[in-house]
């Protein structure tokens, strides 16, 4: 499995922090990690051919104010990988965190990669 880089928010992060292992992930679904006070939702899509197999976005749902994004449903809309919030069902891009329904909402996105079986998040 190739390591992946995220070009969206953080370019070439200087520090990669290990958060969990591949075994902690659930295929085609999400889990949440605690990252120094932040909650990061990790989505693992082992079958993904073109895009990346691993995505890290904020677990905090801006619409409900609850930390639930990691429990949403992964899907694709118009070719873009998205996560649907489990409470009000709005969709966020897994690539850049933008909200399909409301430009006023956006999820933070982290660079994330596998390092062997370790899952690493890029922190500035």
């Amino acid at each position: 499995m190739a390591t992946s880089s995220n070009a969206v928010r953080v370019q070439n992060p200087e520090l990669w922090q290990s958060v969990c292992t591949r075994q902690d992930l659930i295929a085609d679904s999400g889990v949440v990690v605690w990252l120094d006070g932040a909650q990061v939702a990790l989505f693992y899509l082992p079958g993904e051919q073109q895009g990346r197999t691993l995505h890290a976005v904020d677990n905090h749902d801006p619409q409900s104010g609850a930390n639930v994004i990691g429990r949403g449903l992964v899907g694709s809309l118009k070719g873009e990988l998205v996560i649907a919030s489990p409470l009000y069902k709005q969709h966020f891009s897994l690539v850049d965190g933008s909200c399909m329904e409301d430009p006023g909402q956006r999820l933070r996105v982290w660079p994330v990669r596998f390092n062997g079986d370790e899952v690493e998040i890029g922190v500035a």
Binding site: A27, D28, S29, V33, A66, R71, G72, G75, L77, V82
Partner: protein, 852 residues
């Protein structure tokens, strides 16, 4: 090229009769170019050329012979058709192929009889001169007019269609008009007793005397008027003139004298080509008898005329196979309509009737024995229903769910749930106060898909409860604007839920990946198709929803087997079948609630909901509940929820059956059944209906003899009373019907469609459903029962299954790398229990993005 010009020898065609049908035949011959082959001569007994007999009574209200005349006076001459008026054909010499008039003999190659009919005058002593008028021709009307000049009161004998026309004529001549009818009602052929009564009321209100069940014995000199009609039974009626309109007889004299076959009840016998027993002679209109019947209306006569004309023109002619005798007319200003089997003479026919005595209005709808088709109707007072009803009869259109709506008055206040029935001001989304009007404006402004509509209007972005209604309005408005509605499930599947269900069944598909690869697009799916397909797979194969291939399909509530609440915590609902619970179990629930500090509330479905559990607490909570003997209540799934019950005959002095036992049986059987939407049941032990079964998807109410089954009720946003589906069932039959009903619903419903909406959208309505479920009209019953049995046999408590498997429990971690709970979840105490803190009560949570 030389062209060979043939001067065709034109055959001689003679048409006897220049009434409406004979005239129509000439018009059709001209139109179809038949005059190239035929030299046509037409003989009319009357002085006038063909005129409109249907509107004869207008002769007395302004029309003269010329305005009643049919077609252009020059038509015949322009096309070389010779018209002999006032020249009756006296004889047909078939041997020499000539017709004989008082003036000459005319040869023919082909002959068409269109001699019509004549009024029947019963042989009553004393009926002569002005006591023996008839109502058929313009000459007859002239005679009536002459007699009326010195008359005050006129009587029409015969209360049929023409008799009432004649009464109208007498009225317009300024006479006091009466109608005498032998039958006990007016228009006995077209109307039933109630229809006749309504018509009588209307006609009497117009000042026309109506005398029913009167047989005239003799006509003698009168005292106050010129004549006296003596009825049997000693009654009498005096009048200055008497018009007979007691029916018509086919004018078949020429046929008889020339030896053509004559039907037993009169009329020249014709075949389906309108040919008589002499191949050179046709007969059309009221003088002809087809299959023993005379057709006394203009429409069948016209169609015979058309058929014969096209045959003579060398075209492929249609055959005559009888005619619809439905009629719609205005008699004395009163609408009267009669369609098909107005008397419900068909064996097994059933009727719906609407009687409005205040307005003397009457409507009857006759349906066939199966209740599926309209076969007849009677209308008095309002013919606006006629066209629709005629459509139903002629095209065999399936009846609406409630056939009576076809004849009930259309009222603004009538309850209607359709999107089209909603006014512009109707609120569709109450969260954001979005009206149907604003949805329509958005559509008009170019909004072409549902997500766009939601984002522009904010409709359905609140609680989401209006999703189905919004979709309905949206689709209806698109259709109204001529836009095709895409019924695809989502961008990944160009199929409806029903089609996907069939694919899963037929191809034995058991995973989402297989479904997507074979029938979908892409390789991910979305939050629409994944739960929909997941639900179908569960309905069909009932595998544990926590199996790895199924987990990603479930919406969050199914994934974690609990109901997510607004702050991201869950509520937990153990199954309490039938609402029956032992004190020990009650204590066990209390102990769990107390230990995990869960907010506790009794639900509407007779169970207990425990709120405020965090993700990582769910397995512990469930271990303890299962230890105490509970199973999952599936409150999180689109699946069987509860079976509510009253205590029934074991405790209640009114109960007639053990409703609790039946509720337990039903809940045990259908628990875990996944379906297009949630399923709620109830069982009441007597007709007092304390369990409110009539608001449930499946309602069961005890009777002295067994159980009555109700289906497709609903509470919620659009309450709907369940419909009585079957009565006095024994236990086994009840369960069989419910098996079939539920599986048929699962097979045919749209995604997230409750049984109520499904039932309303079901073509053929309740009757159709009864046929499928009770009479097994589709031959599906055994299959549906077997499919249900498979689901029942495979039932396993999902929580018990998950607790046995450490892999499955991996999901129930708030953080996979940390033991802590979510630090952002805060509670406050209220009324002795905790509840989620409101954003406004907590400065830690930004309130700017809150959408209320």
């Amino acid at each position: 090229m030389n062209s060979i010009v043939t001067i065709a020898h034109r055959q001689k065609l003679v048409i006897v009769g220049n009434g409406m049908v004979g005239h129509h035949c000439v018009e059709q011959l001209i139109e179809r170019g038949a005059l190239a082959h035929f030299e046509v001569q037409v003989f009319g007994e009357e002085r006038q050329r063909a005129y409109d007999r249907v509107h004869l009574s207008e002769y007395f209200s302004g029309s003269d012979a010329e305005t009643l005349a049919l077609g252009d006076a020059q038509l015949y001459g322009m096309h070389g058709v010779r018209l002999h008026l006032g020249e009756a054909v006296l004889e047909i010499d078939r041997e020499h192929r000539e017709v004989v008039t008082s003036l000459a003999r005319y040869p023919y190659d082909q002959l068409i009889l269109a001699t019509g009919s004549y009024p029947f005058v019963p042989p009553i002593p004393g009926s002569e001169a002005e006591a023996r008028l008839v109502y058929r021709t313009l000459d007859d009307l002239d005679a009536i007019r002459a007699a009326a000049a010195s008359a005050r009161r006129g009587v029409v004998v015969g209360g049929g269609l023409l008799g009432l026309e004649a009464a109208n004529a007498l009225k317009s001549l300024g006479l006091e008009a009466h109608v005498v009818e032998f039958a006990p009602r007016l228009m006995p052929v077209q109307l039933d007793a109630d229809g006749g009564a309504a018509l009588r009321a209307q006609i009497e209100a117009l000042g026309v005397g109506v005398h029913l069940s009167r047989a005239t014995q003799a006509i003698v000199a009168g005292e106050d008027y010129r004549y006296r009609m003596n009825f049997d039974g000693g009654e009498f009626l005096e009048a200055d003139l008497i018009v007979f309109s007691a029916g018509i007889r086919p004018q078949d004299a020429l046929g008889r004298s020339s030896g053509l076959d004559i039907a037993p009840r009169g009329g020249v016998v014709i075949d389906e080509h309108c040919r008589t027993s002499d191949a050179r002679i046709f007969a059309i209109g009221e003088c002809a008898s087809w299959n023993g019947s005379i057709f006394g209306l203009v429409a069948p006569g016209y169609s015979m005329a058309r058929n014969v004309a096209s045959a003579l023109a060398g075209e492929a002619a249609a055959t005559f196979g009888g005619a619809d005798m439905s009629t719609k007319l205005k008699l004395l200003g009163v609408d009267v309509g009669s369609i098909g089997d107005a008397h419900a003479a068909t064996p097994g026919a059933k009727s719906y009737r609407f009687i409005d005595e205040a307005n003397a209005s009457y409507r009857r709808l006759v349906v066939d024995a199966s209740g599926k088709r309209v076969i007849g109707a009677v209308l008095v007072g309002d013919n606006s229903y006629y066209d629709t009803l005629l459509q139903y009869v002629q095209n065999g259109i399936a009846l609406p769910a409630d056939p009576s709506t076809l004849i009930l008055p259309v009222s603004d206040g009538a309850p209607s749930l359709g999107a089209d029935a909603l006014p512009e001001t109707a609120t569709i989304c109450s969260c954001h106060n979005v009206t149907k009007g604003s949805i329509c404006s958005a559509i008009d402004a170019g909004c072409s898909d549902l997500p766009m509509l939601k984002s522009q209007t904010k409709a359905c972005t609140g609680c989401g409860g209006c999703a189905a209604l919004l979709k309905q309005v949206f689709e209806h408005e698109l259709v109204a604007r001529g836009v095709a509605v895409d019924k695809s499930l989502c961008e990944h599947f160009a199929y409806t839920r029903q089609e996907l269900y069939a694919l899963v069944r037929v191809e034995g598909i058991i995973t989402f990946e297989e479904m997507l690869a074979k029938h979908g697009r892409g390789h991910v799916g979305c939050d629409i198709c994944k739960p929909a397909v997941g639900s179908i797979l569960a309905s069909c194969w009932n595998q544990p929803i926590m199996d790895p291939s199924l987990v990603p399909l479930q919406d969050t509530n199914d994934t974690f087997m609990a109901n997510m609440q607004k702050n991201g915590t869950y509520s937990v609902v153990p199954r309490i079948p039938g609402g029956e619970i032992t004190p020990d179990k009650l204590i066990a629930i209390g102990a769990v609630a107390k230990k995990y500090d869960l907010y506790t509330k009794i639900t509407g479905g007779q169970r207990i909901d425990l709120f405020g559990a965090q993700l990582h607490e769910l397995p512990d909570i469930w271990s303890e509940l299962i230890e105490a003997g509970f199973e999952t209540g599936h409150a999180y799934g689109k699946s069987t929820r509860t079976v509510k019950s009253c205590v029934g005959s074991t405790w209640c002095r009114y109960g007639v059956q053990d409703s609790v036992q039946m509720a337990l049986t039903i809940e045990d059987r259908y628990k875990g059944l996944r379906s297009p939407h949630k399923l709620k049941f109830a069982v009441s032990g007597c007709t007092r209906e304390c369990a409110e079964a009539q608001s449930k998807d499946v309602g069961v109410i005890a009777t002295e003899k067994g159980w009555n089954l109700y289906i497709s009720g609903n509470g919620g946003m659009r309450p709907r009373h369940a419909e009585l589906f079957a009565t006095d069932l024994d236990d086994e039959t009840l369960i069989r019907y419910i098996d079939r009903f539920l599986m048929f619903y699962i097979r045919t419903a749209d995604k997230l469609q409750r049984t109520s909406v499904w039932r309303e959208s079901l073509e053929g309505g309740l009757d159709y459903l009864k046929q499928v479920i009770i009479e097994d009209s589709l031959g599906l019953a055994a299959e549906l029962e077997a499919q249900m049995q498979l689901v029942v046999d495979r039932y396993e408590c999902e929580w018990a299954n998950a607790l046995k498997d450490p892999e499955k429990l991996k999901r129930f971690r708030t953080f996979v790398n940390d033991k802590r709970a979510d630090p952002d979840i805060h509670f406050v105490k209220e009324r002795g229990q905790r509840r989620p803190i409101a954003a406004a009560e907590l400065n830690l949570i930004p309130v700017t993005e809150e959408v209320v």
